[in-house]
């Protein structure tokens, strides 16, 4: 137990020494010049449009998606149209619509 404590203490001291060595590193004297050179290429401080435009684009896409879903649910097939579609697609030609047309007097007269 005591050995563990000593080991822990020794390791911790080594870590503190490692931190001190990293801390002692000096920043390049040209850093300020590099920063100022980069800023000369950049616009002055103020409103940055890029993130705003990105957010607006995402928002518009979401609204468009929502509205599209909404409109598509509005155009549900009505009852009358379903009847006509069933008539043509299922080839149920014996329904009353065709019967009345094929066997009507009008048809025979032709």
């Amino acid at each position: 137990m005591k050995k563990d404590k000593n080991q822990e203490e020794a390791l911790w001291q080594r870590m503190e020494a490692a931190v001190a060595r990293e801390k002692a590193q000096q920043v390049s004297p040209y850093l300020a010049t590099r920063v100022m050179a980069r800023l000369d290429d950049n616009p002055s401080p103020g409103f940055v449009w890029a993130p705003v435009l990105r957010s607006v684009a995402v928002l518009l896409a979401l609204v468009f998606g929502f509205l599209s879903a909404h409109w598509s649910s509005d155009t549900q097939v009505g009852e009358h149209r379903a009847l006509v579609e069933a008539y043509f697609e299922n080839k149920q030609a014996g329904l009353s619509l065709e019967d009345s047309w094929l066997y009507s007097d009008l048809y025979e007269a032709e």
């Binding site: 080991q7 490692a18 931190v19 920063v35 401080p45 103020g46």
Partner: protein, 186 residues
């Protein structure tokens, strides 16, 4: 010595070159913070540069409620942490854990002492990297920047007690991690 607020007022009036004064005043502190996250001199220098550019771009958002240094250190800590996360993600997709960045030690100078320093640095990087973000921020501000607990609390926008607790838990977690890593190594 010109006060930070006066320099900022000059920058806002269009004197871009006044910003150099702020950079020169705080570059070492910001660099130390970045070192605490990336543990590599060149990467820390690049990160320091990015922090100062970001701070300049966001200078309009600085309202002066806290000291400029507090705001700057907050940006430095958050930006560094984001950079580390991005690097970890990149490293993951490249197929390593991102913790094996080689230290630059001259081969002919690689004596026992330097090997040990290299080892300690790797241990420190791993132990610190394993800490949760809030503990890591508090540790770096306290140990790398020598900020008081009160100053750390201001930078992290926390209560003093919370910072004390974070630092205590950071030390405990690091000690456990160090013992574990040391045992694994044999």
């Amino acid at each position: 010595m010109q006060h930070d607020q006066d320099i900022i007022a000059n920058i806002r009036r269009g004197d871009k070159q006044a910003y150099r004064l702020l950079v020169e005043r705080y570059q070492q502190k910001v660099f130390q913070t970045c070192m605490g996250f990336v543990h590599h001199e060149e990467d820390a220098a690049d990160l320091t540069q990015e922090v100062f550019i970001k701070v300049y771009e966001k200078l309009d958002a600085f309202r002066g409620k806290a000291a400029f240094s507090t705001w700057l250190y907050r940006m430095a800590v958050n930006h560094s942490l984001n950079a580390v996360r991005k690097n970890k993600l990149k490293a993951y997709f490249r197929g390593n854990d991102g913790s094996d960045v080689p230290d630059r030690v001259d081969e002919d100078q690689e004596a026992d002492g330097q090997l040990r320093q290299k080892e300690d640095r790797a241990l420190l990087r791993k132990a610190l990297g394993a800490l949760p973000a809030s503990q890591r921020k508090a540790f770096v501000l306290s140990y790398y920047q020598d900020l008081s607990n009160q100053e750390v609390a201001e930078v992290l926008q926390l209560k003093l007690k919370a910072v004390e607790s974070l630092l205590y838990r950071a030390r405990q977690n690091m000690k456990s991690a160090l013992i574990r890593m040391s045992d694994e190594k044999g």
